[in-house]
Amino acid sequence: MGFLFAENGINAVFEKWAEEYHVYAPKRMEGKGAFSDTDSVRYEEINKVEEIEFDLKSHFSFKDILLPMSETLFFFTEEQVKEADGPKKGAVILLRSCDLHAVRRLDEIYLKNGFEDYYYKRLRENVRFVLLGCKQAFENCFCVDMETNRADFYDASIEKDGDGYAVDNHYSDWEPLFLANSMEKKEVSPSYVTETEVRVEVPEGLSLDVSKSRMWDEYDKRCIDCGRCNYVCPTCTCFTMQDIFYTDNGKVGERRRVTASCMVNGYTDVAGGGSYRQKNGQRMRFKTLHKVYDFKKRFGYHMCVGCGRCDDACPEYISFSNIINKLKDAVAEVNDHDEK
């Protein structure tokens, strides 16, 4: 059922939600961009609808909530292990269609890929998703080609409608709350984009052979292995473990799980001092094929959702959508080579 809310009505809903949930949404953090006097749009806890950034793409994704960049899992002494407390409340996360599709990928990786990840599940179980409608595509978005521009598997949706807010509800428990605080019921279908300026085409006949293409070489020098493309990506899920001892020779400490990047030095380090993929072009190859080739082989759809945040974030102006589009020629190049 759909509803139209005035600002105070929707804020009454947020207030009610706050009893049960942490509400997270993209928020403009003034002065928190890397350059002075620039802002950063990140996922933060909010209390009021005015705090939500409706008009910009967030620089970082909702992933920061479901997979915190640095999360303490448990504390240990020589004899005991104590699990870190999980959140006391559930969460409502407001996110766009591409990101909601990204949640599916995270679930696939953390819940359905052989075993369930305990810490992910603990957070994920009590999360409700509210879709932010997209009235137009942003720079670098290519969701339409990745088929993530629309989603109907939300608990509710929200977008601005004149001076008010249009909400569609799928979650019956919220129905009375919405009824009580809205101005009127009305048919609401969340906005979505049907075209993006950036187009991508993942070529037919892609295989690991494309690894042999020379297309990767240019990234040896262009890429500075900073990892921004991974950290902002809603579907990059790699992490590393850190055991911290509180005192120099102490035996008490904690274990943390920390986001890792396949583009950054150290990612492929293995015990004994070895390391694979030293060259940045080869790291790019690994990342690209994971996003648009081998994940699909396993799960039947691409990992990349086409949010374009990697393009937005890259300080070296390396465009991931452009890399996808270069694959076609690369396939031809390696086939050619094999024929000769």
């Binding site: 002075s36 970082f60 915190p68 943390r256 986001t259 974030a313």
Partner: protein
């Protein structure tokens, strides 16, 4: 020919090597201006000058080859430039009211440069509003960050943008990009302890390299605009020297007050016999002692809590 050269100079014209010929100096606080003013300056050069323009070492323009008798007409044509650049003026149409306090220069700042910690032009304009017109020979320069592209340490007042890095350990993934950037590009005051980063606050110069390097936004900039203020650098014949640190982590309000206080100090102590009424502040401070200067400069100044005042200050440089 009769000409009061004192008045001519005060009006921002110059006595040149050619008799009867002057040059007009246009001040551009912060060194940034709307392009439309260039055609006005061109028009003056073509109409009353010799068709050339010199870009001055203080980011202004000097229009040479102007006849003494054309100065009033040049001043008329300068009026929209003076108004447009928001220069304090006493008599509309009368040109610049003073020339002693020089144009306030600035690097390009955060309107363009990623390193800059603030809008250098805007702060330069704010200072210009507070100090101009004044006949005393003061040189003020601003630079966006400790790279000091504007060479502010060669000026009486050098203003250097700083950023107080804020660290969110929960966003830190221990990639060490900040530690490496600080070590290779700055002063090496970050180190990794237990997979997180520690900053030596006393040694940090606030350049912001960590913020620029951090891929996760764990480092961000402090919300307050803070600066390093350096004093009494100078070129010149007797004892050219670099400006020395006076205050680290000082705010805009205090900087302006300190500069205004320094005008009072100079008015009180300047050598009345100084040739042309010009005595460089640094030489006055050499005479009165730094303590006396400091007393005047910090009068009624409320520094931010984190400000660090260096005292006493000693200058080096080359002595002839």
């Amino acid at each position: 020919m009769d000409m009061n050269t004192k008045l001519l100079k005060k009006n921002a014209f110059r006595v040149t090597k050619e008799r009867g010929i002057t040059a007009s100096r246009v001040r551009v606080p912060g060194g940034h201006l709307e392009a439309k003013y260039l055609s006005m300056i061109q028009n003056i050069a073509d109409t009353y000058g010799n068709g050339t323009i010199h870009i001055t070492s203080r980011q202004g323009f000097e229009i040479p080859g102007i006849k003494f008798e054309d100065m009033p007409r040049v001043n008329e044509l300068l009026q929209p430039v003076i108004e447009g650049l928001n220069i304090n003026q006493e008599l509309p149409g009368g040109g610049y009211p003073a020339a002693g306090t020089r144009n306030i220069t600035a690097c390009i700042g955060n309107r363009v440069c990623p390193y800059a910690c603030y809008d250098t032009t805007a702060f330069a304009q704010r200072i210009e509003k507070a100090v101009f017109p004044n006949d005393l020979h003061f040189k003020i320069a601003l630079t966006g960050c400790p790279n000091d592209c504007a060479k502010v340490r060669m000026h009486d007042f050098g203003i250097m943008g700083m950023t107080e890095p804020q660290y969110d350990k929960d966003r830190c993934v221990n990639c060490e990009a900040c530690v490496k950037a600080c070590k290779k590009k700055s002063v090496n005051v970050l180190k990794t302890v237990n997979y997180k980063v520690e900053r030596n606050e006393a040694k940090c110069i606030g350049c912001g390299e960590c913020v620029l390097a951090c891929p996760t936004g764990a480092w961000t900039r402090g919300s307050e605009k803070l600066y390093r203020l350096t004093l009494f650098g100078r070129t010149g014949k007797k004892n050219p020297r670099m400006g020395e640190d006076f205050i680290k982590w000082v705010d805009e309000e205090s900087i302006i007050k300190i500069i205004l206080n320094t005008y009072d100090y100079v008015n009180n102590y300047i050598d009345p016999e100084a040739p042309g009424g010009k005595e460089h502040i640094g030489y006055i401070v050499d005479r009165t002692g730094f303590e006396e200067f400091r007393k005047w400069a910090l009068k009624d100044v409320k520094l931010p809590d984190m400000a660090e005042v260096y005292t006493p200050v000693y200058w080096k440089g080359i002595k002839y």
